[in-house]
Point group: C2
Chain length 470, copies 2
Amino acid sequence: MVLLGASKDPKKWGFIILANLIDGGFRGRIYPVNPREEEILGLRVYRSVKDLPETPDLAVIVVPPSSVVSVVKDCANKGIRAGVVITAGFAEIGDGGKRLQREMVQVARSGGMMLMGPNCNGIMNPSNKLYAQMPSIFPPPGPIAIVAQSGTVAISIARRSVVKGFGCSKYISTGNEADLHFEDYLEYLAEDPQTKVILGYVEGFRDGLRFFHTAKEVSKKKPVVLLKAGESPAGARAAISHTASLAGSDAVFEAVCKQAGVIRVGDPDELVNIGVALLHQPLPQGRRVGIVTAGGGWGVLAADACTRLGLEVVSLPDDTLTELDSFLPDWWNRGNPIDLVAGARGDAVVKSVEALLRCAVVDSAILLSLMLALPVRRLRRATSEDEREHWEETMLSAIGDTFGQLNELTERYQKPVIVASELAFADASFEMKMTYALGERNCVCYTLPHQAAMVVANLVRYSEYLRSVS
Amino acid sequence: MVLLGASKDPKKWGFIILANLIDGGFRGRIYPVNPREEEILGLRVYRSVKDLPETPDLAVIVVPPSSVVSVVKDCANKGIRAGVVITAGFAEIGDGGKRLQREMVQVARSGGMMLMGPNCNGIMNPSNKLYAQMPSIFPPPGPIAIVAQSGTVAISIARRSVVKGFGCSKYISTGNEADLHFEDYLEYLAEDPQTKVILGYVEGFRDGLRFFHTAKEVSKKKPVVLLKAGESPAGARAAISHTASLAGSDAVFEAVCKQAGVIRVGDPDELVNIGVALLHQPLPQGRRVGIVTAGGGWGVLAADACTRLGLEVVSLPDDTLTELDSFLPDWWNRGNPIDLVAGARGDAVVKSVEALLRCAVVDSAILLSLMLALPVRRLRRATSEDEREHWEETMLSAIGDTFGQLNELTERYQKPVIVASELAFADASFEMKMTYALGERNCVCYTLPHQAAMVVANLVRYSEYLRSVS
């Protein structure tokens, strides 16, 4: 690939992107282009695309806006078929920028070149180790595709996925969508075998009808989860000056999502929370939820959140209660949520979840406490570094085992089990390690009850949609 | 203090609590009581309260439910004036438990003893290093009081405060509230000089009218932020079996909060997010918000969230636009949100915030990007440990400086500045350090735009309430 506008100045985008390409370990050759440099970061610099010894697959363009058109022309003449224009200063800044943008697209198209951007923060293809983007985040290869009409939001989604231990199939900051549009990316990702779920951020569509038809087809193949901004007049105004997007009516977008099977979420946290659940959970056959907690407050909050989201916290039938009686202490609450009171043994956690999954009137299980299932509960303050390491290993392995058992249950009963639990000690660095380790096994531990409810509600919605169109 | 039910078994509560008391470094003497032990964790064990060489201030009780009444009687006879009953198995498990609970209260009252609990996970008073609780979390002394009708939720609030770098004045898990009620704690915390903000979780009140009158008085002195559960029938049922609470009508509770100046929130994240803002931000004089972003998507999401929450994303007057023109590149969007495009200098961040605060039609500012204000943006992958440490120090100090400047502006203009920003690299451990370091300076960096909007909206609501009653 060729980087047009490569720079020696560590503050400039042309340097940062080159550094990311190198640090990312791109498998192909990198050709920096800058008419005034000889060498940057150990790479030979070319004066122009014309001088390159071969025709690269991809051009990444960060030259100033006034030079973009001529640079795109050079690329097209060289036979380059795809370009990412990171440079800003086009349609989003007014009429002059709009004209420049049209000219750029015209030049590219007549030269047989596809363009991504402009005004974006780059693309990634981790399976090729292609990290052609501004922020220094390097998601490993994985099942999540990110496509966003905002570089900041795109990178936030990537960050949230990475710290949860999930990798990324493709990352696309779409920018002004001068040539390739959001719908084009959707179509591409639908066919991309590495992509299992598509997480998107949109401000508006150039062609709402095409979006509808595309999304309707794609959502049958793999889940599409979207965060849409610009619902308010102030937000819509901001969207125009951001990526020249017309946000359109929020009610229309809502209806389109419903009919196209698109899962719409309210913020970037929800986007990733729901996205990662869709990777490994079976879709529930109905709205009925069973909850296991060890800490009543969590159970009350979960029951509230489930009800608010249209889920049904069912009454458990007698045979399920009897099954639970057989291993829970006499004074357990005999209700849903199942509250694992003091006196319950550690294996009661997984057994209770299994009792729920076995139960005919339960479609999904929510588990709100891991602590009880863990063998080691207490790390003294004066503990040595070695002891602490050993404790961490023991805990991580116990947590892994518990999730392993839950995964088996999920598999056997084909019903989702969503875990939201905190650990009863304030060790943020251990929690980080746990979250990451779980993600690498395709597991998630949410922290709050309403997050679990939100995940189940969206699995249900998607499941209902798929059944309605099948 | 005396611990009744101290145990040698590391899995038992009587051990865990004793270990926490010792590890917490309690300033007073600790007397473990257990008729069958001689020594636990290096402390002499007493056979009974009667045998203690002095009368302790506080009794913490973890004996089995059937022994609680006689133990409370012993304590009262010894002249102990306050007890925390951690033991569960009372009103929450049915009629038998209710009788036992009534008997316990009767015995305590007739002996002149106050009781907290039962069925709670403990109390903390960090300024005395009193950590008499089940979970091994040790918040430092600080301005946040936590009072909750659920131990799990209480500890979750504590965890969230601690990892944000904020300490705790008092921690009270109220349990079944057999003797002391939520309202008693509110009254106490209102007068507690260490407490600057009260964060609470409630499932229901014994005496709704008293709660109303108490909360109305307390909220004039310091902010009361509450998370209420049990709004749904399923949640209300769970609340009964949890702490025998009657959740009551949610609409009534909502009206009570409004009239009593209580800030009601939707989940534990919001509780802490809003709570910490109330510690250091001035209250806004109106609903008009100015937004500074460096990443358009964030700005659009913030504008949407503000509008949804009843805030006004105002049009900026000409003189403010002219002020911004003087230091922003020509192609900036000249609107609100102010989008700090490429080309803006680092100091544009603080200058833009100041332009907003100076502006007569802006009551609060939201800042959505720190990155631009930071000098070091790029850490190469191959960086050595030393270089990384140096980089972290430089970054932390730059972040601290920026917040210092923002604090000065907040002080000078007496308008809140709420920051929500992510750093453009996926280094969760650095972010943890940053969050903690900021908290120690009484500063917060939220991560998402809707969190900032939620914080401002609640500052506005509380401010409007206070003005309406003053």
